[in-house]
């Protein structure tokens, strides 16, 4: 097997935008946030991504505005650099190389030319201790500058950027870690430490979680893990400091922020309620409840007109100062695990997977944007730790996207499993899915697999469950009654009380295969007859896949005992098998190709093959670390025309997969990269204008007009050769000044000559006048 260098594994969207606090620009028009290895600039009014600032080679760990130039921003990254960007044009201005893993960045208006970054104490990867260092930026014109000067400010700080804050415009800096609050005064070059008594023996965790300093007064607000907020005053001495306590949150306060004028204090936590406290009148509170997920960061625009909150579900909410939500920027929601398979919505070609708890998300792969959320559970979400919530665990689309089936389940510690099967029909009018049937307790145990029949005649859904049965659900038309069509159980089957683990329809829907532990059974879905059983060397069947198109006579199966088998359904015999630990088998719906992800010694290999021949078309060793559990072939909007054999399988569809660390990766070929590069160059021509859909519309129109004009003017240009014009100008420039008419007289003529004339005659006229005017 040959490794092919032409195909690379690349990140394609779906990165976290809630990792660090977002930044709102001083004119409140843009919002900057780190997203994976890049910094994204969003418009606060349209929610669209305006620029993607690329340059960092590792995770971006912080973004701040340049205090001396409000059109620039610093970003720091785990790759050990700080970069200065012009975010309105999307240009990298400067790179400062620090050579430490940077965890967060802080700036202050008082300290011009100094950055404060949090780096590990010892320059080791596994270090647990962090320090806050001041970085004096060297004044140099080079685009890449090595920074030598680092001076430690505070030792032993928390790597969490919310636990460090500048006070009163940069007079002091406060940092909290564990049960200790440290305040460092720059003028006095002195630091004070205050510590709380541990409440651990009382069962209270009162450690610091976040900190915010009042911009005008000497007051520090600290948030605690037990939900309390403390306001510290009089802390410029060791002894007589005071603090008052505010308590509303019942779980840890995740983030705190004073508004720029210091009149309000904003706090947020897992309750997903934004609390606005009046400074000095703390009993007056405003609430903005049900923001959707736990608040992780709060940012306030420099003029105080906008707030924004980052949420645990990869979302940024932009809130007006009147506490009203104005915009929501939503990234791909990646829970701790993806429970449903990755799916492609046949209508919108969006990637579908479970998103927020109890929701399915539709995510556009091309635009890297969440299209919409479908509320499956339709229950009020209780933002509290330790509550068992309903989770969407399975979902399936039928071939045309008319029906969607979802399974939600809730397992309580004590009582039994609750399962609901829901069937949604697509409503053309509202362009979304509408609940049609809810089946409570469709099976007595967890549902292991679910699929729709691809045949166009019947709408048939098959579910398999650990209770040893599979059920077929049919859309029953109650034309004789008042009710509309709904789904009901048509057939219940099983095989020797074995537990079915997977099911698969053949491409035409005439055959249905189930994996009952070690046995593969093939059924006819029209008569529910058991046609044949296929057994293989021991090991439960993990995945089943029918071949497509020219390979439709083959059935492929993988087992837990490292076998990939291919049966010929015409002879009902094993065609070939290979020993491979296949963690996932995925069929390409647009060709006969199959992709098998094999886990081998801690990493994953990919093999792409046709079922008819046991020889891979493409293989890639060590794709990523860990197992690949989810993958999907997504259709391309534009076909590639690659002729190389190894990349032909990517011509019609694109393979996306989720790694163990929930990174969405894909494969990109050379031709594709070239095309991307070309398109980005095209965009570079005039990127001063924000690319809005309106612009795209109008811009294209304009371009077309220009082209048209060019076409029109081209014959003219041939008839009135430009060199003549340039000769005229040359004459004008070469003629001695004292023989020329007055400049005011020449000016209008000169300008007119530069205009594209509607007819060559006027042009010639102008030339004539020139000739008359010019002596000689």
């Amino acid at each position: 097997m040959v490794e092919h260098t032409g195909i690379r594994v690349v990140h394609r969207g779906g990165s976290k935008i809630n990792f660090r606090e977002p930044v709102i620009t001083s004119d409140s028009r843009f919002l900057l946030c780190g997203s994976g290895e890049s910094v994204k600039v969003y418009s606060t009014s349209t929610e669209e991504c305006v620029h993607d600032l690329q340059g960092h080679t590792d995770l971006v760990t912080g973004v701040v505005l340049n205090p001396s130039n409000h059109l620039q921003a610093y970003s720091c990254s785990a790759d050990g650099t700080v970069r200065l960007w012009d975010f309105t044009d999307g240009i990298l201005i400067k790179t400062f190389i620090i050579r430490y893993h940077i965890f967060s960045i802080h700036v202050s208006e008082k300290h011009v030319g100094v950055l404060f970054v949090v780096v590990p104490m010892a320059n080791e990867k596994g270090s647990e201790l962090f320090q806050l260092v001041a970085v004096h930026l060297p004044r140099s014109g080079d685009p890449e500058v090595e920074v030598g000067e680092l001076s430690a400010v505070l030792c032993d700080v928390s790597p969490n950027p919310g636990a460090v804050s500048f006070g009163t415009g940069g007079e002091y800096i406060a940092a909290a870690k564990g049960l200790q609050l440290e305040v460092f005064f720059f003028k006095k070059q002195k630091s004070y430490r205050f510590s709380l008594k541990s409440g651990m023996n009382k069962g209270i965790n009162n450690s610091f979680t976040c900190i915010s300093c009042h911009p005008k007064e000497d007051c520090i607000a600290t948030g605690h893990a037990d939900g309390k907020i403390r306001l510290w005053r009089n802390f410029n001495q060791k002894k007589e400091y005071t603090y008052s306590t505010l308590h509303w949150h019942h779980n840890a306060v995740n983030t705190l922020r004073f508004t720029p004028e210091g009149t309000n204090l904003l706090s947020g936590g897992i309750e997903s309620v934004l609390v606005q406290w009046r400074y000095t009148q703390e009993n007056q509170k405003d609430f903005l409840p049900r923001l959707g997920a736990a608040i992780t960061h709060i940012a306030v625009s420099p003029d105080g007109s906008l707030f924004c909150t980052s949420h645990a579900d990869n979302k940024i909410t932009i809130i007006l100062s009147s506490v009203k939500v104005s915009a929501i920027i939503q990234g791909l929601v990646k829970d701790d695990c993806v429970r449903t398979d990755l799916m492609i919505d046949p209508r919108s070609k969006a990637l579908v997977l479970n998103g927020k708890p109890g929701h399915l998300q539709f995510y556009s792969l091309h635009r890297d944007k969440q299209l919409y959320n479908l509320d499956i559970v339709q229950q009020e979400y209780i933002h509290e730790q330790g509550v068992d919530q309903f989770q969407v665990v399975k979902a399936a689309f039928d071939t045309h996207g008319d029906w969607l089936a979802t399974v939600e389940e809730r397992r309580q510690k004590s009582s039994e499993l609750e399962i609901n099967l829901k069937l949604w029909s697509y409503d053309e009018q509202t362009q979304s899915f509408v609940l049609n049937t809810t089946v409570t307790a469709p099976h007595e145990d967890q549902i292991t697999a679910m699929c729709f029949s691809p045949s166009p005649e019947t709408t048939l859904l098959v579910t398999t469950s650990l209770d040893g049965h599979f059920k077929a659900w049919l859309l029953a038309d109650h034309s004789d009654t008042e009710e509309s069509a709904s789904w009901s159980c048509d057939f219940v089957g099983g095989y020797h009380l074995l537990k079915p683990g997977c099911c698969c329809f053949s491409a035409d829907g005439s055959l249905l295969a189930f994996g009952f532990q070690e046995v593969v059974t093939v059924w006819s879905p029209t008569s529910w007859e058991l046609l044949t059983t296929l057994s293989q060397p021991p090991g439960a069947v993990r995945d089943l896949c029918f071949g497509r198109l020219s390979c439709s006579k083959y059935l492929l199966g993988t087992s837990t005992k490292n076998q990939l088998c291919c049966w010929n359904l015409l002879t009902c015999s094993l065609e070939w098998n290979t020993p491979m630990d296949v963690s996932l088998l995925q069929a390409d719906p647009f060709s006969e190709n199959m992709a098998a992800f094999c886990s081998q010694s801690g990493s994953t290999d990919l093999f792409v093959f046709k079922p008819s021949e046991p020889r891979p078309l493409f293989s890639k060793k060590a794709l990523c670390t860990g197992k690949v559990e989810r993958a999907i072939f997504a259709p391309r909007d534009q076909m590639l025309e690659s002729s190389e054999e190894y990349s032909q399988w990517l011509n019609r569809s694109q393979l996306y997969f989720l790694t163990q660390h929930m990174d969405l990766m894909t494969f990109s070929t050379k031709t594709e990269e070239d095309r991307l590069l070309a398109s980005s160059k095209q965009l570079m021509v005039d990127d001063s204008v924000a690319i809005t859909p309106f612009y795209l519309l109008l811009g294209r129109h304009k371009q077309q007009q220009q082209e048209k004009q060019e076409l029109l003017t081209n014959p003219l240009a041939e008839r009135t050769p430009l060199p003549q014009g340039s000769i005229a100008i040359k004459e004008l420039l070469d003629t001695p000044a004292h023989v020329l008419p007055s400049a005011s007289f020449l000016c209008s003529m000169f300008v007119r000559s530069l205009l594209v004339s509607s007819s060559s005659a006027s042009c010639q006229d102008a030339m004539l006048t020139w000739g008359m005017l010019l002596p000689g």
């Binding site: 939500v325 209780i382 509290e384 509550v387 009582s415 307790a441 049965h469 009654t481 219940v492 007859e529």
Partner: protein, 518 residues
């Protein structure tokens, strides 16, 4: 900011028959009018003439009722013994009836005395009918013979002696004056043609035939006998088309609905079943108090008349369109129109700055409490009287999901607690609610076990609850025994080959049926 999502009230599927167009149609009758006759009502026949009077044959009389009268408009009493089969001629002028004393009498509907008497049979005549040309009469008798009589001369035309047992039913063709069908206790149906003077077709019903009926097209014939209703295709030389077994006692009477789309059968099992004549499925069924002997439908199905063995005649009239709405009673006082219009008809002027007002969503009382996390109050409002148990159970389920059910149940005084336990007694054994309420019951017992014995009211209720649960356990055990029996039955009846495929399909259906799941 998403709005509060109200508690989802689960809609439980209704067991039993679905509401179909047929149910609506056949339920659309008023409460039955009952008239007591002197003996078992053996025959009912509607007059084909406009007011559609009907003749009811019972004991030694024939009563003629008007369409809406409960008193007979006319009575024929000149019978020496039990009368049978009083039927109108197609012009509605004449009425013929058989009698236990073997004499067939012909009456003028307006007269009293019999116009003609046909004597020739030796035993009781159970069937007498006019042929389609109105000049002849068909009679069938217990002496195994059937006869055609000429009305003007009152002479016997032909006697057919082909049956070997009592002939208890017969029907003449409406399209051909020479054809008629008889059904006998010798299990056969015979079709006779007067032109050839013998039977032309014989069909074996396998049971003593009680009733025969032609379809309006007369291509099909329906016969009833034993528990079976059979349909025969006359155009295919009497091939059996379908055999229906929907009654569990002898079917006594057959009848077609006005448009011929539905077939009705009445039986000694006190039911009338309505079949769809395209697929022969039962689409509706009526219940009566006694075994039914006779059944007739008024033209256009305006009324259903049923005669029973205990001599009760039950008449159901179709509801008219005004009566369909049912009793409205006192109309609810509506708010004054002005209240609705107030401030709505204001048109914004040109320079007005419009502030849009978001539509206020209305939450139920318990949802309002849930929104504020007032769990105990939410449960209290859900337990209020006149609430559907579905709502209360949904709120309990929601509280359980939030993990705050224990808090909501705890800290109740005697009155509150007894209200709660009362609800549990009423609903805990309902299969729809049991999974949720069992958890709640366990919690209540855990919480309040320390205070048992302090209140006599609560103690009494707890004892009741205990009895209820014990009874339910016994009941479930019985059901499981039945299930075991069924399992063995299914295992022995299913063919060997299919065992693998079907395995538990029917059994699991039974399980879910017993538990009340869909």
């Amino acid at each position: 900011m998403a709005s509060f999502k109200p508690t989802k009230i689960q809609i439980y599927p209704q067991l039993g028959a679905k509401v179909t167009q047929d149910t609506l149609y056949w339920k659309n009758y008023k409460a039955p009018v009952q008239v007591k006759e002197f003996g078992a009502i053996t025959n009912i026949d509607f007059s084909p003439l406009a007011p559609h009077n009907y003749a009811v044959t019972a004991s030694t009389r024939i009563h003629i009722y008007g369409p809406f009268s409960q008193e007979p408009v006319k009575t024929f009493t000149r019978f020496k013994d039990t009368a049978y089969s009083g039927r109108f001629r197609s012009d509605g002028q004449l009425l013929v009836a058989g009698c236990e004393d073997s004499v067939v009498r012909l009456f003028d509907v307006s007269g009293k005395v019999a116009l003609r008497m046909f004597k020739g049979h030796t035993k009781a005549v159970h069937v007498a009918d006019f042929t389609s040309d109105c000049y002849h009469i068909l009679t069938c008798s217990d002496d195994y013979t059937c006869c055609l009589w000429d009305i003007p001369n009152s002479t016997e035309l032909t006697k057919y002696k082909e049956h070997s047992d009592y002939i208890r039913c017969g029907a003449t063709s409406k399209l051909n004056k020479d054809l008629f069908v008889t059904g006998s206790y010798d299990h056969t149906l015979k079709m006779f043609d007067a032109r050839v003077q013998k039977s032309v077709m014989t069909m074996d019903h396998n049971h003593p035939v009680e009733s025969v009926l032609f379809y309006p097209s007369e291509g099909l014939l329906v016969s009833a006998g034993g528990r079976y209703v059979k349909v025969w295709d006359l155009l295919k030389r009497g091939q059996p088309l379908v055999s229906l077994k929907n009654h569990h006692k002898t079917v006594t009477c057959l009848c077609l609905s006005g448009n011929g789309q539905r077939l009705l059968s009445a039986s000694l099992d006190r039911h009338v079943k309505v079949y769809n004549t395209t697929n022969y499925k039962v689409v509706h069924s009526f219940d009566y108090t006694a075994s039914i002997l006779s059944l007739a439908l008024a033209p256009e199905d305006e009324s259903v008349v049923v005669g029973m063995t205990n001599g009760i005649l039950s008449i159901k009239h179709r509801k008219t369109s005004e009566e369909k709405q049912g009793p409205t009673g006192q109309p609810r006082r509506q708010p004054v129109f002005r209240v609705f219009v107030k401030g709505r008809n204001c048109v914004p002027k040109q320079d007005d700055f419009l502030v849009s007002k978001s539509a206020k969503s209305h939450l139920a009382k318990y949802d309002k409490q849930l929104k504020r996390f007032n769990v105990s109050k939410a449960l209290d409002t859900a337990l209020e009287k006149n609430r559907k148990p579905e709502i209360t159970v949904a709120v309990i389920k929601e509280l359980d999901r939030r993990g705050t059910l224990k808090n909501a149940l705890a800290g109740r005084d005697e009155q509150n607690l007894s209200q709660l336990v009362n609800f549990l007694i009423g609903n805990v054994v309902d299969p729809r609610f049991a999974p949720v309420l069992v958890t709640a019951t366990e919690m209540i017992l855990d919480i309040y076990k320390a205070v048992v014995g302090q209140s006599s009211v609560v103690d009494r209720q707890l004892v009741r609850l205990q009895e209820l649960v014990e009874r339910e356990i016994d009941y479930q055990q019985d059901l499981l025994e039945v299930l075991g029996m069924l399992d063995t039955l299914f295992a022995s009846t299913l063919p060997r080959k299919e065992e693998v495929c079907r395995e538990h399909a029917p059994v699991s259906y039974e399980i879910s049926y017993f538990r009340g799941y869909p």
